[in-house]
């Protein structure tokens, strides 16, 4: 004798394969009640010669299960976990491909790349100019000597 819960789990597909086969074998002894429901249900059974028990609630649940449209299911490859794995795999592949084809992208640049440098300086005849690195800085200085003094009274704007 099965409980109502067993029947519900069977109809709703919550039994694993072994449990389902064992359950349907026991139905063979039950009395067939609703011929129409039974004829629609039978192709779904794992045990083809099983018969439907005479139980109102079961007929009702079977009818409900058959009448209810199947819930829409996403294709297997659209499941979030699959998409997440696919995305992570793509990123890793892109990174590895880039590292292989463009090794410079992932190698730290030498410090000199981030320093300014005066390559050439030419001042007018009465001015001398020379360059040097600014201490404790990435910057650079051009030091001029000989530019004319501007009195404070003269406006600079």
């Amino acid at each position: 004798m099965h409980s109502e819960d067993d029947y519900n789990r069977w109809i709703e597909g919550r039994m694993d394969e072994a449990e389902r086969i064992a359950f349907e074998r026991t139905l063979a002894d039950s009395e067939k009640d609703d011929a129409e429901v039974w004829s629609r249900l039978k192709p779904r059974l794992a045990v083809p010669d099983a018969t439907l028990p005479n139980a109102d609630f079961l007929n009702h649940r079977v009818a409900e299960a058959i009448a209810a449209p199947p819930a829409p299911r996403l294709p297997e490859w659209l499941r979030p976990s699959r998409l997440a794995w696919a995305g992570a795999t793509c990123l890793i592949l892109a990174t590895l491909t880039s590292a292989w084809l463009l090794p410079g992208v992932f190698q730290p640049l030498p410090e000199s790349e981030f320093l300014s440098k005066v390559l050439e300086t030419e001042a007018r005849a009465d001015v001398s100019a020379y360059a040097f690195r600014a201490p404790n800085s990435r910057g650079v200085v051009i030091w001029t000597v000989g530019t004319e003094f501007i009195p404070l009274e003269e406006k600079v704007q």
Partner: protein, 141 residues
């Protein structure tokens, strides 16, 4: 899948293409405390200016910011009296190679070719003005 791969590839392989600007400023450096506080724009330069030129107080007389593009000539006019003509010779991932000419009114003071890295300023010692020094600062931003 192909689209995701393409996007990831482009993101990894695309060169740095953000537009940079060349900022220039005319600064008056002195050891006499001015009436106004130091402008925030000059705070990052103050330690180097103090160490190199020996002045503690800075006043911003003018500044100008101009977008940089490859093989382009621009006029950079931080002030009416001191200004630059800049020719962008080369752009790279970390720096620009520029040729600049500094003018004081209608007279050229110097011409220089500089490899200017981002955030690594160029300081030019200008004429002395009263009890202080005029400085010109250029920086890629």
């Amino acid at each position: 899948m192909r689209f995701v791969l393409l996007i990831a590839w482009l993101a990894a392989a695309a060169p740095v293409a953000a537009s940079d600007h060349l900022w220039s400023a005319l600064v008056f450096a002195t050891n006499e405390k001015p009436t106004e506080p130091m402008p925030r724009k000059l705070e990052t330069f103050a330690p180097t200016i103090r160490q190199v030129f020996g002045y503690r107080w800075l006043t911003l007389l003018g500044d100008k910011r101009q977008e940089l593009q490859a093989d382009q000539e621009i006029w950079l006019v931080p002030s009416k009296d001191f200004f630059f003509e800049v020719h962008v010779l080369e752009t790279a991932e970390t720096h620009y190679r520029i040729r600049l000419q500094l003018f004081h009114r209608d007279q050229s003071i110097l011409t220089s070719t500089v490899r200017l890295a981002r955030g690594a300023p160029l300081y030019i010692r200008g004429p002395q003005w009263g009890n202080g020094q005029l400085l010109l600062v250029l920086e890629i931003r």
